[in-house]
């Protein structure tokens, strides 16, 4: 019976301090002391205590040992495991907000590579109970700034953290706060963008449903920093549970004097209200979102002026994404300098992704910036099911691109993904295997954007529509030479001439698939062939020599496309065939194949 688990941090810093060597010694010692049946060793990703490494955590009890040496190992086993006396000399008290998650979840492969900052409480606390949040240092960041930080201190801390917007654009958050704070105006607004319009994305919904108070706390801190007293959460009506939990959180926070007049006895007032969106992709774009709150039609307007200068009702407005807000309390409590140790040079902190598609472990993950696609797909995602080969990775949803398998070692950060031809976006990540047709994927996304285009500017309205038509024609086997070039020209014009990010990014799925999978487009157009067997019009069913002429296929064919005499090989007339596949499913001899 295992009685203890020792989790060994395998973050880079600990590995540099030879944690692997220590693990070998630990394993030897376990055998020597005859403890191997009692102690299970787990390895985790970075536990975030890099300066205290090598780090080991002994469960139960969550005793964290830092700076462990060879000599300490014997002592830990003798004293802690055998004599049940944790060693206070070696134990470290680390109460970073984020790593509590790992003391509960860090022992599985799926969670080991992750690092939870924005989602630190998701899946741990009861989201409808404010006591749970407060008990885990909730609202302490707010209390801290109200006690001993000026508005400028707060902004400086956010700047120091290097935090960038998680809604897609990646704009430096501290800089945006500074712009809005610098505006002199009695009325300012803070907005939380919870529109989340990308198909398949559910990061923001889960973050709100799992831990609504962290969003409120972030927004109140933002309000204090820029000098605003009014916050608005713009969330789509399609998220009823998230809305319900937000409403409960707002009421509870107000009852606890954490929202409203004289927050926590200070002279700072702040209110938050919820506005429901009807669920249009374009309303996630900040200027369209602001118009939608104003009660006007959700259409973007040219920037500048940026919302930080002239936003909601013409007043300076700070707008950030849900995940951006969720990071703010951690930046304040654990400090901007700590936050900036996570991630890469230009992309700090973590990013939440909705991992989906043909991967064993689909799910919501949060990884440090700089984690490679390979680590996400194979270590966290557990690889592809059924032994299939990876063909492409789609990131950034309808505004992003498809990267082929060669890009597996690309680190996840704003610049590297852009350089590879995709974008970080808000965090959708779809894994595709060989059964996926890239032309079909491009058409799927452009079908979405062309129907979500608000129609205000011509390049987006017409460009997306025409691209959709050309892609449809290619898929239906009516592609013409020159279509690829036409798509490229249309795509680049739409990118350059559209008014807002919707049109500017809509061609990305098309252009990136042309760039990386051009031969598939060529096959569709020139050879009328779809190698993935997805595009129905390009499929031919063929009867092979295995046919014994039983006539079963002929009888099920709904359009009489099969001909042949009894006991002789049959044939399919491809002009009549509607590619329903009934014949193939009926044939008992495996004589009918797709080609």
């Amino acid at each position: 019976m295992k009685e203890h688990v020792i989790t060994i941090c395998n973050g880079t810093a600990c590995i540099n301090k030879d944690v692997r060597g220590l693990q070998n010694i630990l394993e030897e010692q376990l055998v020597k002391l005859d403890l191997q049946d009692k102690v299970k060793i787990n390895v985790s990703g970075c536990l975030g205590m890099c300066d205290k490494g090598p780090v080991m955590i002994v469960y139960p009890g969550y005793t964290i040992y830092g700076g462990v040496t060879e000599k300490d190992i014997t002592e830990i086993l003798q004293e802690h495991i055998i004599n049940k006396r944790p060693i206070s000399r070696l134990a470290i008290q680390e109460d970073n907000l984020f790593n509590r998650f790992f003391r509960i979840f860090g022992d599985t492969k799926f969670f080991g590579r992750q690092m939870r900052i924005a989602l630190r409480n998701c899946g741990i606390i009861d989201p409808e109970n404010i006591d749970d949040y407060i008990a885990l240092r909730g609202y302490e960041a707010l209390a801290k700034i109200l006690t001993d930080m000026t508005a400028q201190d707060v902004i400086d801390e956010v700047k120091k953290s290097g935090l960038r917007g998680r809604g897609g654009g990646g704009f430096p958050t501290g800089t945006k706060w500074q712009f809005t704070a610098d505006q002199i105006n009695d009325q300012k607004y803070v907005i939380c963008n919870a529109d989340e319009g990308d198909p398949g994305a559910f990061m923001d919904r889960s973050a709100i449903e799992g831990d609504p108070h962290t969003i409120l706390e972030g927004m109140i801190i933002g309000g204090y920093a820029i000098g605003a007293n009014k916050g608005i959460i713009y969330i789509r009506a399609e998220y009823p549970l998230a809305i319900k939990r937000l409403e409960k959180a707002l009421a509870d926070a107000e009852a606890h004097c954490l929202l409203g007049k004289n927050i926590l006895g200070s002279n700072f007032d702040f209110d938050i209200e919820i506005r429901l969106g009807a669920g249009a992709f374009v309303c996630g774009e900040e200027t369209a979102l602001i118009r939608s709150i104003e009660g006007r039609r959700g259409m973007p307007k040219p920037r500048p002026p940026y919302p930080s200068v002239s936003g909601l009702f013409g007043f300076p407005t700070l707008i950030n994404n849900v995940e951006t807000w969720a990071n703010v309390p951690v930046v304040i409590l654990d400090g901007g300098s700590w936050f900036s140790t996570v991630g890469t040079e230009k992309s700090k902190g973590t990013k939440v992704f909705a991992l989906a598609g043909m991967v064993n472990n689909t799910g919501l993950i949060e990884v440090p910036m700089g984690t490679t696609l390979r680590e996400i797909i194979y270590d966290i995602g557990g690889g592809l099911p059924n032994g299939k080969q990876l063909k492409a990775i789609q990131t950034g949803g309808p505004s992003g691109g498809c990267l082929p398998a060669e890009y597996l070692d690309t680190p996840i950060d704003y610049e590297s993904l852009a350089k590879a031809g995709s974008i970080m976006g808000s965090g959708g990540m779809i894994v595709m295997n060989e059964d996926v047709c890239m032309v079909d994927v491009a058409r799927f996304f452009i079908e979405f954007t062309q129907s979500e285009s608000c129609g205000k500017c011509t390049p987006c309205r017409e460009g997306t529509k025409r691209m959709y038509e050309i892609l449809t024609r290619i898929i239906e086997g009516k592609g013409m030479p020159g279509d690829i070039e036409k798509l490229e020209r249309l795509g680049s014009m739409t990118q350059k001439a559209s008014l807002c990010g919707l049109g500017q990014s809509a061609p990305n799925p098309v252009l990136s698939t042309i760039k990386n999978f051009r031969e598939e487009y060529e096959e569709h157009i020139n050879e009328k062939k779809c190698r993935a067997g997805v595009c129905k019009a390009l499929l031919n069913y063929v009867i092979t020599e295995k046919c014994i002429g039983c006539g079963a296929c002929k009888r099920v064919c709904p359009v009489d496309a099969i001909d042949g005499n009894k006991k002789q090989m049959h044939h399919i007339d491809n002009d009549k065939c509607i590619r329903c596949g009934m014949c193939m499913n009926t044939c008992k001899f495996g004589a009918i194949i797709k080609s």
């Binding site: 469960y59 799926f110 989201p127 209390a143 559910f202 919904r205 927050i263 006895g265 799910g363």
Partner: protein, 119 residues
């Protein structure tokens, strides 16, 4: 004058107290995932099974709570059983029937049902 930090510290002590009063230090704590995705996968039924087991007195000394999504989409609904002095156990794809088995085998008899444990 009390500072906001002092006010909050007091609030935290009260919050912790309320959580303890709800029975947090029970021998067994059970968490059921209750986000939109988990509910869609059937976690409301699972929650009901645990609620019934507690209200009818079938299990004693159990603290039941909901939680948000931990991210294991393909394994939902998830249930976590935390017992004093033991490693937390996470179960995946929990149905009504599985919930009953978790109650009778794991919570009452202390046998972990390895087959459903999320590794």
């Amino acid at each position: 004058m009390t500072t906001p930090l002092e006010t909050l510290r007091k609030k935290r002590a009260e919050s912790v107290n309320r959580i303890l009063q709800k029975g947090y230090l029970a021998n067994t704590r059970v968490y059921v995932g209750m986000a939109t995705c988990e509910i869609a996968a059937g976690s409301k039924d699972v929650m009901e099974v645990f609620q019934n087991a507690i209200s009818t007195g079938k299990v004693k000394d159990v603290y039941l709570s909901q939680k948000g999504c931990a991210g294991r989409c393909n394994l939902e609904p998830t249930v976590e059983v935390v017992e004093a002095g033991k490693n937390p156990i996470k179960y995946g794809k929990v149905t009504k029937e599985r919930a009953w088995d978790i109650i009778t085998k794991h919570i009452i008899n202390g046998e972990v049902i390895e087959e459903w444990v999320i590794e």
